[in-house]
Amino acid sequence: MSTSLAVWTGALLTLAVLSFLYDDNPAWRITEHLYVGLAAGYGLGYTWQNYLRPVLLNQVGAPGGWIWIFPLVLGALLYTRYIRGWEWLARFPMGIWIGYGAGYILAYLPRVVVGQVTGSMVALNSLSNVALLVCLLGGFATFVFTLPDRPGLIRTAGRIGRYAILIALGVAFGGTVLYRFTLLYGQVHFLVHDWLGLGH
């Protein structure tokens, strides 16, 4: 059996998490709250070390660094949510962030569509390629929203597309199962091999 503090900490925490499979219990609850607390602390510490501190120490004081004051003030406006009567100021960073994000979507997502379209322009010289096109166009038909009573052709195409989508999802499901079991195996191996010292 291991004598390392690190291995013991890891092993006890691993068992505490696995105990949740049985029921909610004090060991799980301590681990849950510890993990959430550490993750939140790490998140804030990481942001400070990698984003805020460099900006405050290196950027703001540098020539032309005044521009960095704007984002800092903009972000800080979010805290007005906690000041009664001034909550509306928090809408400014929210509005700008959402708009900026929406701009990103508009700028980059059309490329995804173009990529999928050009990728699907296959030569109709084999049964597989024709079937691919049928599955794709059928898939499009399942997402038609404006025709409550879809005419026969679109309904049939939609059904084929629906089955293609289900097959795709099923294959993704099956593909993930093995990978997940590999990860579980890794943790069981840690308990048996590193902690208990068995199976050498």
Binding site: R81, G101, M121, N125, A172
Partner: protein, 269 residues
């Protein structure tokens, strides 16, 4: 993108963006046309009702009968993700129903900005519904920006507070299955919506209702019943037709012209 790439200085658009810009411009034009028609009360096609929207009210009703809360999560991404953006109208509708039924709505998030936005949405919705007293800041919880710490906290919460309904609407990573299982274990009626193709299989297999891909955006645009918003969904359908015709035309051109394929090359310019 290289600054000294071929033809960089001479062109209006960056290389590779011609097809994108045309598609985006066409979608914008179609949406403006649909908005114009909606504003002037012109005839518009009806939208198919998505089962996922119909059950929102039922979910809150069920929770009320059982005397248990409703839970909603927008997933573990930040608001730059369109799936997270689409969660806010659903959250608003759920908060309206919760206010009507006087049932607690628990909201958990894994991003601080999403948390702030969701908190504002819920508070404002309760105020508009005349139920400002129902707003409890402890029901809107930022848990962690680490997806597995977030999942751990949700799992613990589901064991202890046993929500009767669980709405998972947004972008999820590998933690999705942990959330589905937490809901199933608590006996929650579960609705999931995502465009993430890696997690969709688990939602389809494990939830009572699933909105796949575009359905989540259409649900978000049509849930309020606002005719202006609904009209823009019609533009999406027109775009789909355009895309389908492009694929068909491209396949025919490719079959006839072989690898030189002018249409494909033009779109990728």
């Amino acid at each position: 993108m290289g600054f000294d790439g071929p033809g960089y200085g001479a062109r209006l658009l960056l290389p590779g963006y011609l097809g994108s810009a045309l598609l985006a411009a066409l979608l914008l034009a179609l949406m403006l046309i649909c908005l114009f028609r909606a504003r002037h009360g012109l005839r518009m096609p009806h939208l198919r009702r998505l089962p996922g929207i119909r059950v929102l009210e039922e979910m809150v009703g069920r929770a009320t009968e059982m005397g248990r809360p409703v839970h909603m999560t927008p997933g573990t991404d930040d608001p730059r993700n369109p799936q997270v953006l689409a969660s806010f109208p659903i959250l608003r509708q759920l908060a309206l129903a919760a206010a009507r039924y006087d049932t607690p709505l628990l909201h958990t998030s894994a991003d601080q900005i999403v948390y702030a936005l969701s908190d504002a949405t819920i508070q404002q919705t309760y105020i508009e519904a005349g139920r400002a007293s129902l707003y409890d800041p402890e029901h809107v919880r930022y848990l962690s920006d680490n997806p597995f710490a977030y999942a751990a906290a949700v799992m613990g919460m589901f064991r202890r507070e046993r929500p009767a309904a669980n709405v998972m609407f947004g972008n999820f990573g590998a933690e999705a299955l942990l959330l589905i299982e937490a809901g199933a274990d608590a006996g929650s009626l579960q609705l999931a919506a995502t465009s993430n193709i890696f997690q969709l299989p688990f939602f389809v297999a494990g939830c009572d209702y699933t909105l796949i891909g575009e359905e989540m955006y259409v649900a978000a645009a049509s849930v309020s019943g606002d005719p202006m918003l609904r009209s823009t969904v019609i533009a999406q359908d027109w775009m789909r037709l355009v895309v389908a015709l492009l694929v068909l035309a491209g396949a025919i051109v490719h079959t006839l012209a072989g690898p030189s394929d002018p249409l494909r090359r033009w779109l990728q310019r």
